[in-house]
Symmetry: C2
Subunit: 334 residues, 2 copies
DNA sequence: TTCTCTGTTGTATACGTATACAATAGATTA
DNA sequence: TAATCTATTGTATACGTATACAACAGAGAA
């Protein structure tokens, strides 16, 4: 069923159908009502492909993520979705799995959909990707990641500060043997690690190579990293993790090894997660305003799309905050 | 940049461009290679709206869910997405928030996108919705919910059995004062509650009205339901919850009330969740093969779409299993 | 040579929509 | 009355693609 067929049934022209659908004021009220009844009766829905083709745009926003393994992206998605819905836009999801090839495919998909804008946690950006993104003018928001080459609105958190604070807090409890399970060295990963090193240096602590293990931002790698750390001849008394999944991995490893947190080992996380407060012990961590991020990204994008903001690229750095719970303890003399 | 423009640049016709994109064998290999270079050079991507319009189909699957608050749907989404990706299809998400009006909008959206099929956890289905769905022939999978009116492939779990097993287990531990926090009375909700009643009756237990509270499948309602239960003059010794979010709500309430699980109150859940094993105590629950459900739904759909299966409506009932952990204990004499 | 066949490319068109423009009837004005 | 204006509707078209069909050149056969 299309406009033409429906028009024939209704005894009007297809233009009238179209006008009624788009609530054109130049239609006689009775006609409008009559056509609306016909539309309802036949459950007619306009073909969005034809619509978008004709309009040369699609009221669609692309949301680029690694995947949904990290609940971080789910929260962000919900925020973006609600803003888009409010503006009558659809979100399509592109998954990179942290691979540049998949990222490129996802971006091509977005472009083929004629998206109005993209909100993305980009894996890596070279000139090729940049060229593609530039077709969207400034309607791109880089979320959680930064790239020198990328001159788009950006929302990040203060990763370095978070990294420093983790060390500061453990140091204040008397810890000296501090290990870190860090993530992939993308932009937030590097900054968190920089923060770690700065924190150590500021407090006059020595950053030992064997205390630094990459957990690739995922749970199993962090699990094994934790086990490795504890098998060292001189194991650390505190473990820092640089994201939520790795914190969970470390927590599970410590539990499985029957190591008491925080009496034997203190554990501090980065980024909150659903059960952080309800594990035993509750997890001390660097908290970030994740609920804001999605909506903020959405709103920044629509400010651009609706020309409410025309101007220089914006860079928002959201603050992080140490949230103390019970997974860290004063270092007892051993 | 479209085919016509690119064709002019390349010095061929737009038909040739189109043929190269679709890897038509009737193109001279050298031409193909040459055109591919041009496409790459100009980063040309075909307009998917025009494509879908021309094709009168869209290689798109609609996935209908309540929302992403329940991690259940995330797992399912991941399964469906991976199967769709394998087949070159895109998933678009429709959110109902468990409201029929939003469900209708989501389905209209799917239809306007010319989806090839829908996998959905439907809120409710009347003739109107049914009519719309029937446009997709049999390419609809009803997930987790059942409706008499709906003659489509269905994947559910054995909800009633799960409900019975919860009671059986608690009874085997000596509990008699068993409360249940049940969910919305949709199809699985009803069956779980039926299971509860049957289990109680089978074991000669009396099902008290004041021990039955609706937790609406969400965490806060279950939290308050739990508090209410414990404020009763004669509080229950065991609490059954009928989904994961409500189990979490009950767990948090008990924790916040400093009530020991399982010594003071036993808690049993329905449906697994990330931290069930790592809470203290680990949660005893009815486990279901959730990882299978998404992929299975995807595969069932593509069997239809690719005519690998043509036939009667299928109904798959996946088994559930009691997973014993430490949140239930023998009833100690009071 | 002439004809046929094959491989390759181009031309023209339909998909369903929104809208510019044309057309019409009826109302208003001079 | 004729002229003008307004409200409403219809007609024709472009959006970008994929493909049916036409066209053509060159190879091979008769």
């Amino acid at each position: 069923m299309n406009q033409k067929e429906l028009a024939k049934i209704a005894g009007v022209s297809s233009a009238t159908i179209s006008r009624v659908i788009n609530d054109d004021p130049n239609v006689k009220p009775e006609t409008k009502e009559y056509v609306r009844e016909i539309i309802k009766k036949y459950d007619y829905v306009a073909n969005i492909n034809a619509r978008n083709l004709r309009a040369s745009s699609s009221n669609t926003v692309g949301f680029l993520i690694s995947n949904f393994n990290n609940p971080f992206f789910i929260k962000i998605y919900q925020g973006i979705e609600s803003i888009c819905r409010k503006h009558g836009y659809i979100v399509i999801i592109g998954i990179t799995n942290e691979r540049v090839e998949e990222q490129e495919k996802a971006i091509d998909l977005f472009l083929s959909y004629q998206v109005s804008g993209i909100i993305g946690s980009f894996v890596d950006v070279d000139n090729k990707i940049l060229n593609k993104l530039q077709r969207l003018q400034k309607n791109v928001i880089s979320l959680d990641r930064e790239f020198d080459i990328l001159d788009f609105d950006t929302i990040v958190i203060d990763n370095e500060y978070g990294g420093i604070e983790q060390v500061n807090y453990l140091h204040s409890l008397g810890h000296k043997k501090i290990a870190v399970i860090y993530g992939k060295l993308d932009s937030p990963g590097k900054e968190r690690l920089n923060g770690f090193e700065k924190g150590m240096a500021n407090n006059g602590l020595k950053s030992k190579e064997e205390y630094k293990i990459c957990g690739n931002y995922n749970e199993p790698d962090a699990y094994y990293a934790t086990i490795k750390l504890l098998q060292l001849k001189d194991p650390p008394t505190a473990i820092i993790t640089h994201n939520n999944l790795m914190c969970i991995g470390a927590y599970k490893a410590l539990k499985d090894l029957k190591i008491n947190i925080p009496d034997n080992v203190s554990l501090i996380g980065f980024d909150n997660f659903e059960f952080a407060d309800y594990l035993e012990p509750g997890i001390t961590l660097i908290d970030r305003p994740i609920n804001q991020m999605g909506e903020m990204a959405g709103e920044m994008l629509f400010d651009r799309l609706e020309n409410k903001y025309i101007g220089e690229t914006r860079r928002i750095v959201l603050p992080v905050k140490l949230k103390i719970n019970k997974s860290c303890n004063f270092l007892t003399t051993q």
